[in-house]
């Protein structure tokens, strides 16, 4: 506030322009495409699927969970894309990390917390290796991470087959019973509140069976908590820190950034590591939820992450984008996927919807971006 007081002489003639820009600035932002898409999608399903249960507690939990999954990997993909790189090995990393947790905890009998921690360390190291190879060779990350897509998926199939003679390893839920770190990925929070809401008749409760009287939705899964935490972390990191400025600079023009003293290589490698971290969070949550790890987990997730990021307004070639936009992209993705199911639409049409949304969002985003950045 002291800043505005410093220049009272100029405040008068700039006031008009500031006001004029007020609504423009509020509207013309990288997330606009995501915001418009989100409103459109909720309007659409609000009209077509309002009585299908999509908007009661179970329904909301259903599409929130799916959206949260997309969000977790979209945050990593978003920051990496803004830093000017891709990671096509995200899906394979999800499968690989899940399999490592299963092998460490079930086959080797390690405590689950140790299995998870060691898996995180290994995954992040592989992320660093991805980044290191990209930086050292100067090859496009597209190619390098495509190689890791195959390498990691290959190991994810090979390891359980060799060790256990099968491609799914179960028994993780039993192993994770009472494990503190297992609960951080597989647990639920606010159970008391949901119990209370059930008793107050605000949400449905089971009427029969062993869980009679308990709410059907008995808490918020940690998966959703992770998604929210990662989105906030990514958004703050990108927009409110010095490192965030380096992410933009590294992707905007690596050479110009280097010339200004930005440690571009370090920024890019960190972002590869963060992407691997996000993939491992996804894997840990999934393994805890299913109680098993499968060799085909995470298939095509890299593309879903990239689609969410692009719907969210990021530029494929780097240097521009928004984590909040990517989160909205993930929300759109999840709501459409589950909403079509609620609306009773043939599920194969999901891809048609997705394609239309992707195209519409990208056209709108390109238009907005040109207005902001003066690109031609």
């Amino acid at each position: 506030m002291s800043q505005t007081a410093q220049s009272p002489s100029t405040s008068d003639d700039t006031d008009e322009r500031v006001k004029d820009l007020g609504w423009r600035r509020a509207l013309i932002r990288p997330e606009l495409g995501g915001i418009v898409g989100t409103i459109a999608v909720f309007l659409f399903f609000g009209l077509t699927a309002y009585d299908s249960g999509m908007f009661n507690a179970q329904g909301i939990l259903n599409w929130s969970t799916v959206s949260a999954q997309f969000m977790i990997i979209a945050v990593g993909a978003c920051l990496l894309m803004i830093a000017g790189e891709f990671d096509l090995s995200v899906g394979s990393m999800i499968g690989f990390a899940g399999m490592l947790i299963a092998i460490f905890s079930v086959t080797l009998g390690w405590p689950v917390w140790m299995a998870i921690l060691v898996t995180f360390v290994l995954a992040v190291l592989i992320g660093a290796l991805n980044g290191f190879i990209v930086i050292r060779t100067g090859l496009p990350s597209f190619i390098v991470t495509l190689a890791f897509l195959f390498i990691l998926r290959g190991f994810t199939i090979y390891l359980p087959q060799t060790i256990e003679r099968k491609t799914i390893i179960g028994g993780i839920r039993e192993a994770a019973e009472g494990d503190w770190l297992g609960a951080v990925f597989g647990g639920k929070i606010l159970k008391g509140m949901f119990q209370w809401m059930g008793e107050a008749g605000l949400i449905t409760t089971f009427e029969r069976g062993t869980r009679a009287g308990q709410p059907v939705v008995d808490g918020i899964p940690m998966l959703i908590v992770w998604a929210i935490v990662l989105v906030i972390f990514g958004h703050v990191l990108l927009t409110k820190t010095r490192f965030g400025n380096w992410i933009f600079a590294a992707g905007g023009d690596a050479e110009a950034a280097r010339n200004s003293g930005v440690p571009v290589n370090r920024v890019k490698i960190y972002m590869f590591m963060f992407t691997a971290f996000c993939a491992t969070v996804f894997a840990a949550c999934q393994v805890m939820e299913f109680g098993s790890a499968g060799a085909d987990r995470g298939l095509l997730k890299e593309f879903e992450a990239i689609i969410a990021v692009v719907i969210g307004g990021a530029l494929l070639t780097g240097g521009y984008g928004s984590v909040l936009g990517a989160a909205l992209g993930a929300l759109i993705f999840g709501v459409v996927q589950q909403g079509l199911f609620f609306a009773g639409v043939e599920s194969s049409l999901f891809r048609v919807f997705l394609g239309i949304i992707l195209l519409g969002a990208v056209i709108l985003n390109t238009y907005i971006r040109r207005m902001i950045t003066g690109e031609r």
């Binding site: 800043q3 410093q6 322009r17 500031v18 820009l21 600035r25 409110k240 820190t241 010095r242 965030g244 400025n245 380096w246 933009f248 600079a249 905007g252 023009d253 050479e255 110009a256 950034a257 280097r258 010339n259 200004s260 003293g261 930005v262 530029l315 240097g319 521009y320 902001i372 950045t373 003066g374 690109e375």
Partner: protein
């Protein structure tokens, strides 16, 4: 006879050579740059001007030769070292990032931080107010600090880059062809900015292949050709025609050399 030569150079480049594999981009170039003076580096495309200033700004390490900065031999491992020492460079094509805001560009690599809950955050308030203030000083009225650099004209971009270097306390400001892609008016603005900067006591290294631009602001002139110094002069000791001849003469010589198979 010239009072300018009485004070010490801020940076001396002695016999700088730079080889890229078998390509000899610089074959022994010496230049002295004085505070408060504009030193023009002239020469045709491929003469080695950019390579020369890149060794000065820590982008390249010279293959041979010595750099003396403020009287002491200096070895820059990377651009950060040179920036820290006070050598700022506005590179030929890569001055600014168009997708980013003016304020983010202005503080790129030098982001101001403030502590909140023990964590360092980018101090946007400070960055924005400084950016607006510095741009006003240079005569550029921004719509706002978050205006993207891509919306600025070429001359305005150069001016932002120069203002940034000056703000961060540059003692030596290197400008690689700042006027080559500009129209007449924008060129005049940039030349006026160079003059302002020089009068603040900063040493300016101004690369151009336009003799008129050089003569407008230059105190000293060094003409490069094929990685070698073709000639050097001071303001007042050379006429525009002579400088023009020096550049053109070099080219004629090159043409002759080529056609006579190196017998001259």
């Amino acid at each position: 006879m010239n009072t300018r030569t009485t004070h010490a150079p801020i940076i001396e480049m002695k016999n700088i050579e730079k080889h890229f594999g078998s390509v000899i981009a610089l074959a022994g170039v010496s230049v002295e740059v004085y505070p408060g003076e504009c030193h023009c580096l002239l020469g045709d495309n491929g003469a080695g001007k950019s390579t020369f200033i890149k060794t000065m700004s820590g982008v390249h390490k010279p293959t041979h030769g010595e750099i003396v900065f403020e009287g002491k031999p200096m070895h820059f491992d990377d651009p950060r070292d040179a920036i820290a020492a006070g050598i700022a460079t506005v590179h030929q094509h890569l001055a600014m990032i168009p997708l980013m805001s003016v304020s983010r560009n202005f503080f790129m690599g030098n982001e101001p931080v403030k502590k909140r809950f023990g964590i360092s955050f980018f101090d946007h308030e400070y960055a924005d107010s400084v950016t607006m203030e510095e741009m006003r000083k240079m005569g550029i009225n921004l719509r706002g600090p978050d205006q993207a650099v891509g919306t600025l004209s070429g001359g305005e971009r150069q001016t932002v880059a120069i203002a940034r270097a000056v703000h961060f306390g540059a003692k030596v400001l290197i400008l690689d062809e700042p006027t080559s892609a500009l129209g007449v008016r924008q060129t005049a603005n940039v030349l006026a900015t160079i003059d302002k900067v020089r009068k603040q006591g900063i040493a300016v290294v101004f690369i151009t292949h336009n003799v008129r631009h050089a003569l407008a602001v230059g105190d000293r002139f060094t003409v490069l050709n094929r990685g070698k110094t073709l000639g050097a002069a001071q303001r007042g000791q050379i006429t525009p025609e002579e400088l023009q001849d020096m550049m053109a003469g070099g080219q004629e010589l090159v043409a002759l050399e080529g056609s006579l198979g190196g017998t001259v």
